[in-house]
């Protein structure tokens, strides 16, 4: 019950942002919160495999890149349909996640971390070397994704689309982790030997979760490409992957609200710090180190007790 109230309040606040900020003459914040929500979707997707599944994938930003490039590349060739953009973004991300996951999930522990990192870097280099799409410099979107009833060029309409999609992503993840499938995933993370002993082979469940997470993150990527209007391989950098991981950890893993909370805190913090100094990463870096060392259960752990 407490959770539901928390969500209602949070969503109400988010709904109120555009009219409020526009009335205050601060349209920048509409953009900022929109960007945070897009990355929150990415964090929610990572939470599925990291928080609930225990898979430390350091290459999740790859799917943001794939989603964004899907929009950019289709636009490059004159295809502007939003439905097609999003569909291709999700499908392409799912396929790549399947390929990467199939190889990586056979390993575990440190190997898995390094391998997911390496594959993402591979995609990054691929992005850099394809000159038609801008290579290292990236490419500008010709036009934003076109939807029948929605105009993404209107920042407020775009904002509400993102809000809606974020809530869909959160709800979807919530259903998944409490379903039979989700329970197996969580059980495998909790005690792999036990899970194998009762008859669950971890591999297929992890792979499916990996693909779902990749697909969802691809959607975030498509939104992000539309948001920034400019698509670069830097979207797939491992610094970006690290950022998303931090959002998940900061917010509290294996909780529904965690990744969203984490996204807001981290990105608002970045925004605040970068306003103070150009060298904000020097403050953020140690802050992150300290938060990992001292902050065990993340922010959501302050508000709620863990799921039983």
């Amino acid at each position: 019950m407490k959770r539901l109230i928390g969500w209602v309040v949070g969503v109400a606040l988010l709904i109120a942002v555009p009219p409020l900020m526009l009335a205050l003459g601060q349209p920048f914040y509409v953009d900022l919160v929109r960007r945070i929500m897009i990355l929150a979707i990415a964090a929610v997707s990572l939470n599925l495999i990291l928080g609930y599944g225990g898979m430390v994938s350091f290459g999740h930003a790859a799917y943001i890149g794939i989603g964004a490039y899907a929009v950019g590349v289709l636009g490059f060739y004159g295809v502007f349909s939003g439905w097609l953009h999003f569909l291709v973004a999700i499908a392409a991300s799912a396929v790549v996640a399947l390929a990467i996951g199939a190889v990586s999930i056979r390993t575990s522990g440190v190997y898995f971390i390094m391998i997911t990192l390496a594959f993402t870097q591979m995609l990054y280099y691929l992005g850099i070397s394809v000159a038609e799409f801008g290579g290292d410099d990236g490419m500008r979107l010709k036009r934003r994704s076109a939807f029948p009833l929605l105009d993404l060029n209107d920042p407020v309409q775009f904002y509400y689309l993102v809000l809606a999609l974020m809530l869909v992503a959160v709800y979807l993840t919530y259903r998944i982790v409490n379903s039979r499938f989700g329970m197996v995933l969580r059980a495998t993370r909790s005690n792999e030997a036990r899970s194998r002993a009762i008859g669950f082979s971890p591999y297929p469940y992890r792979l499916v979760a990996f693909v779902i997470a990749g697909a969802m993150c691809g959607l975030a990527g498509a939104l992000y490409g539309n948001h920034t209007n400019y698509i670069t391989p830097g979207l797939m950098s491992w610094q970006q992957s690290g950022d998303i991981m931090f959002m998940v950890i900061l917010g509290g893993m294996a909780s529904t609200a965690g990744p969203v909370l984490g996204a807001f805190v981290l990105l608002l913090l970045e925004d605040l710090l970068s306003g103070w100094t150009e060298h904000w990463q020097m403050i953020l870096g140690p802050l992150l180190v300290l938060s990992v060392i001292f902050f065990r259960r993340g922010l959501a752990g302050i508000f709620y007790k863990p799921d039983a």
């Binding site: 350091f58 870097q121 691929l126 394809v130 953020l284 992150l288």
Partner: protein
């Protein structure tokens, strides 16, 4: 043509040797201390920067190298004591994130002190020339020196690991950490020594890389991922695996970048090869890694018993 291939192979060997210096340290840290250290690339960067600064300050290359190495060793030990000790008991996720925070910190620190633009680093004047290869072409003396230094370190490392008591502890620790602790070895000291040593190796790679690659914030991360590929291929905890993996990765990557495009150009149309070539070349070592994983998920020479 053969001359070109040979020259590129030497370049590959040079890259391989530098990867080995990084990988050897990192794989030992991983194997013995079971800690994922993303900031290993930062030590590489610190080595480069400190050496450049020391060279400028003292005017002597060798003195610069000595100071740079010593400085990196000190930085490494500070990192171990201040940050890593709190992380040994933690799971890999926490270690990844904490050392990621360290990367941000070091990159920014370096940018504050020396700025974001690439520094100009030069080798010593007595290494500025060329040597004659048997193929008739000339090869930069500096690069040849790197290869020699790297191989010498490899031999020294082999000697220490297989013939000394410390090396025995290291090998035992890589395959069974708890056993070593149970034998009453001063684990803390061992850890600090191993990490300091790994830091020095990374610093050495960094200072040698200075004149060839760019000395700038973030230089460590570029090479770090290749080092990961080396370790995955070679197997965690194995210095031998690090050497074999590093040489393979170094040569495959270098030859791929040099020859894949023209090679493809003979098979498919040149304009297609123009874009596909570099793309494929950059992906080569990762595809190699995937191939190795498909057959031996633990790498070629895993040290761990299981």
């Amino acid at each position: 043509m053969t001359a070109l291939v040979f020259e590129q192979t030497l370049n590959g060997l040079q890259l391989g040797v530098m990867l080995f210096l990084m990988a050897a340290g990192l794989t030992l840290v991983l194997g013995i201390m079971n800690i994922v250290n993303l900031a290993h690339g930062s030590l590489y960067m610190v080595g480069a920067y400190l050496t450049v600064a020391a060279f400028r300050w003292t005017g002597s290359y060798l003195l610069g190298v000595a100071l740079g190495l010593a400085g990196t060793l000190v930085v490494g030990m500070i990192v171990e004591i201040v940050v890593l000790r709190a992380l040994y008991a933690r799971d890999h996720l926490d270690q990844v994130l904490a050392t990621f925070g360290l990367i941000l910190f070091f990159n920014e620190l370096v940018a504050i002190i020396w700025g974001r633009a690439a520094l100009f680093a030069s080798g010593p004047s007595w290494l500025a020339g060329h040597i004659e290869l048997f193929t008739g072409s000339r090869y930069p003396l500096y690069r040849a020196a790197i290869i020699v230094v790297g191989l010498v370190v490899a031999v020294l490392l082999w000697y220490v690991v297989t013939r000394t008591r410390l090396g025995m502890l290291i090998r035992a620790g890589a395959s069974n950490r708890t056993m070593v602790a149970a034998l009453g070895v001063n684990i803390r000291l061992l850890y600090t020594l191993v990490f300091g040593f790994a830091a020095a190796l990374a610093g050495l790679a960094g200072l040698m890389a200075g004149p060839i690659y760019n000395v700038q914030p973030g230089m460590g991360e570029l090479i770090l991922i290749q080092v990961f590929v080396v370790i995955v291929i070679g197997g965690i905890g194995s210095v031998r695996g690090a050497l074999v993996g590093a040489i393979i990765v170094g040569i495959v990557d270098t030859l791929g970048r040099a020859f894949l495009k023209p090679l493809l150009g003979t098979l498919i149309s040149p304009p297609a090869a123009e874009s596909a070539g570099p793309a494929l070349a950059s992906m080569l070592i990762y595809l190699l890694m995937a191939a190795v994983l498909a057959f031996r998920p633990q790498g070629l020479f895993p040290a761990r018993g299981g």
